[in-house]
Amino acid sequence: METIVFSLLNGIIYGLLLFMLSSGLTLIFSMMGVLNFAHASFYMLGAYFAYTVMGATNYWVALILAPIIVGVVGMGVERWGLRRVHANGHVAELLFTFGLAYLIDEIVKIVWGRTSVNYQVPDALNFPLFTIYNAQYSAYRIFILFVAIFMLCALWYLLKKTRAGLIIQAALTHPHMVGHLGHNVPAIFMGVFGAGCALAGLAGVIGGNYFITDPAMAVQMGPIVFVVVVVGGLGSLEGAFVAAMLIGLLQTFAISINASFADIFGFLGLSPTSEFGSITIASMAPMLPFLLLVLILIVRPTGLMGDREV
C-alpha cells in the first residue's frame, strides 16, 4: 500500500515535471517540426536568468521576468538564425540548434562561471507541506504541480482556442499560400518559437532550484524531452501530457520493483547470478522511456495520440 501511494504520488509529480520540461518542445516540435536540440539550453537560460533576477529582486519577479527574457532571446534566434535555415530542411535546422546549444552553454559559462550557482527555493515555498509515511512533501513540489498544470492550460489554449496552431502547421508546408491568405507567417513562427523558448525558460525557473543550476544542466536533461514529445505524438498536446504521465508513473513504479530478471524469467532457466539475470527492474527504470519510444514508434509511428507521423 505504502509503495503504491508513494509511487502514484511521485509518479504524478515526476510526470508533471517531465511535461513541464517538454511542453515548450511540444510546441516547437509539433508546430514547426524543428527538433530543437537547444531546448535544454533555453531551459538552462531560464534558471540562470531567474537566479540573477532573484538576486536583484525576488523569486516572484523572476518567475515572470525570466521566461519573458528567454522568450525574447528565442524570438531573436528565430528571427536572425532559424528563419534563414528553414529553407534547407529539418536536418539543417537541427544542426543549427545543435550549434546553438554549444554556444549558449559556453556563453553561460562565461557569464555565470563554470560551477553551479546557489539558486535556492524561496523561503516562502521551502517548507514541508504534509508528511505521509515519514516522507515529507515540500510545498515546492506542489507548486511545481500547479505550474505544470498552468502550462498545460496555457498551451491548450494556444493550440486549440487560437488558430495559430493550424496556421503554423499549414505554413510549414505551404508558407506562401498561407501568406496569400493574409496570415503573417514569419511573425507567427517567431512568436511560436519565442513561446516555446519561454516555456522552456519557465521550466528552468522552476527546475533550476529544484534540481541544480550549473552549466551542465542542459546536457543532463538529455533526450528525455524528445521521448515525451514523440511518444505522445506530434501535434497532440494531450498526447504529450499522457506520455509524460505514463513515463513518470512507469518509471516510478519500476523503481519500486526490486525483482530481477531471474525472478521473473526464472522459469526459463535464467539464473540470478548470471549477468542478465541479475539485472533488476528497478535498475532498468530510467531506460524504460527509451524502450517505450522504440516500441511505440515501431508499432505506431504517429505516437500515442498524434495525428500525423512524427
Binding site: 527538433l35 535555415v85 543549427f96 550549434g99 546549444a101 554549444y102 549477468e275 535498475s283 531506460m287
Partner: protein, 421 residues
C-alpha cells in the same frame, strides 16, 4: 538497332570522362595516402591521420544513410562500437590462442571482422527500424542508441564496463610484414583500409542498390511502382551502412587498442552527423572533407583556446546558415565556375568574402578570448601578437567592433553584387 547504339553512346559519359570522374580521383586519393609518410609526419600527426581515416570511413558509412538514402540516424556510433568491441575481443582471442583458429588470423584483417559484426548488428537492429523512415526512424535510432549505451554499462562481459576492454595489436601473425607496433605501420594499415572503404562505398553508389536508395530517398511511394520494396531497399542499405561503420570500428580497434562504452554513445553519433553535414551530405566527397576538418578541430582546437567549443558552435551555425551545401558544395561551386571560365570573377569574389570573414573572425576571437579570460578571474590578459588586450582597454573595444562591422559590410556588399549579376 544501329541508331540505338549511337544514342547510347551520346548519353553515356565518354570513356575519358568516366576515367576522369571515377577512377582518377581514387588513384589520386591512393597516391596521396602513399605519399604522406614520406613527409615524415610525427607520431602525433600519424595518430591524427589515423583517426581521420577511421572517421572518413565512418562518416561515409553514415552518409550512405543520411545523404544517399535520406535516413537520419542519431545512433550510428552503435555499429562502430559493436564492430570495434568485437574486434578487440578478437585481438584478445588471437593473443590467447596458441594453435587454434584465431592464432592464424592476422590483426590486419580486423576491419573485415568489424564489417561482419556491423552488418550483423545492422541486420538485427535495422529489421524493425527500417519499417519506418523520416523522423520516426531518427527517433528510433535515438532510442536504440540510448539503450545500447546503457547496456554497455550493464553487460560487463562483452563491454567491460566503464573501462571498456583493451587488446594488443602486436599479437598474431604478421601480414605484409607489418608488426603494427609503431604508428607508421599502423598508418599503412589505416591507409589501406581507408582506401578500401572509400573505394567500396563509392562503388556502392554506382550499383543498382545504391541508385535505388537514392530513388527511395526522393520518393519511396514511386519506388513501389517500379517493382521495389522501399522497406527492403532501406534495410539493405542500412545493413551496408552498419557494416562499413563496423569496419571503421575494426580500424579503430587496431589504432586505439581499446574500446569503451563512450564510443557507442550519442556523442560520436552526433559528431559524425556534424562532420557529414559540414562536409556536405549531397556530395560523395563531402563527408570525407567533413571528417578531416572535424577530426582535426576536435583534437587540436582545444590547444589554442579554452573557448574552442564556442568556436565550434559558431562554426556549425555559420556553415548551416551560410554554406548549406557544406565544404564540398563550396569547392565544387568554385570548380564549376572556374571551368566555365569565370576564374577571375570567382577568385575576386572569393577573396573579398574571405577577407570579410577574416575581419569578422578577428572581432569574434577578440571578444571570446577577452571574455573568457575576464570571466575566469585569474587576471590573465589576452596578448595576441604582442598586443595587450585587457577588457578595459580602448584598443580591445575597437578590435571587437570595427573589424566586425567592416566584415559584415564587406560580405553583404559582395553578396549583393553577386546577386545583381
Amino acid at each position: 538497332m544501329t541508331d540505338m547504339t549511337t544514342d547510347y553512346a551520346a548519353l553515356e559519359p565518354s570513356r575519358s570522362e568516366k576515367f576522369r570522374q571515377r577512377i582518377l580521383p581514387l588513384i589520386l586519393f591512393a597516391l596521396l595516402l602513399v605519399v604522406i609518410p614520406f613527409f615524415g609526419p610525427s607520431r602525433t600527426t600519424l595518430t591524427l591521420l589515423n583517426h581521420m581515416g577511421i572517421n572518413i570511413v565512418f562518416a561515409l558509412a553514415f552518409n550512405m544513410l543520411l545523404g544517399r538514402a535520406g535516413l537520419l540516424t542519431f545512433g550510428h556510433a552503435v555499429y562502430v562500437g559493436l564492430g570495434g568491441y568485437f574486434c578487440v575481443h578478437i585481438l584478445n582471442w588471437i593473443d590467447a590462442s596458441d594453435g587454434g583458429f584465431w592464432s592464424s588470423v592476422p590483426v590486419f584483417s580486423m576491419p573485415i571482422w568489424g564489417f561482419a559484426m556491423g552488418a550483423l548488428a545492422g541486420a538485427v537492429i535495422g529489421w524493425p527500424s527500417c519499417k519506418r523512415s523520416g523522423t520516426p526512424f531518427a527517433m528510433i535510432s535515438l532510442g536504440v542508441a540510448e539503450l545500447m549505451a546503457a547496456f554497455a554499462y550493464m553487460f560487463d562481459s562483452f563491454f567491460g564496463g566503464e573501462m571498456g576492454i583493451s587488446g594488443d595489436r602486436m599479437s598474431g601473425p604478421e601480414f605484409l610484414g607489418l608488426s603494427l607496433g609503431p604508428l607508421d605501420e599502423v598508418y599503412w594499415f589505416i591507409a589501406f583500409w581507408t582506401f578500401v572503404g572509400v573505394a567500396l562505398m563509392f562503388a556502392f553508389t554506382r550499383t543498382p542498390l545504391g541508385k535505388l536508395s537514392e530513388a527511395t530517398r526522393d520518393n519511396p511511394e514511386r519506388v513501389q511502382f517500379i517493382g521495389f520494396n522501399p522497406t527492403r531497399v532501406r534495410y539493405l542499405v542500412f545493413i551496408f551502412s552498419g557494416a562499413f561503420a563496423g569496419m571503421s570500428g575494426g580500424m579503430a580497434a587496431v589504432q586505439d587498442e581499446i574500446f569503451t562504452p563512450e564510443s557507442l554513445s550519442l556523442i560520436p553519433s552526433g559528431a559524425v552527423l556534424i562532420a557529414a553535414y559540414i562536409g556536405g551530405i549531397r556530395y560523395f566527397t563531402g563527408p570525407i572533407m567533413g571528417a578531416i576538418v572535424l577530426t582535426y578541430m576536435q583534437s587540436n582546437l582545444s590547444d589554442y583556446s579554452a573557448g574552442w567549443l564556442l568556436y565550434l558552435g559558431l562554426l556549425f551555425i555559420c556553415v548551416v546558415m551560410f554554406v548549406p551545401n557544406g565544404i564540398a558544395g563550396m569547392v565544387y561551386g568554385g570548380y564549376d565556375a572556374v571551368r566555365k571560365g569565370k576564374t577571375a570573377e570567382v577568385l575576386g569574389q572569393f577573396a573579398l568574402r574571405a577577407l570579410g570573414v577574416a575581419l569578422m573572425a578577428v572581432s569574434v576571437i577578440v571578444i571570446v578570448e577577452v571574455a573568457f579570460r575576464y570571466s575566469e578571474g585569474y587576471g590573465e590578459v589576452f596578448e595576441p601578437f604582442g598586443l595587450s588586450l585587457p577588457p578595459e582597454s580602448v584598443l580591445t573595444w575597437i578590435l571587437a567592433v570595427v573589424p566586425l562591422a567592416a566584415g559584415i559590410w564587406l560580405t553583404r556588399h559582395v553578396t549583393r553584387k553577386a546577386e545583381e549579376v
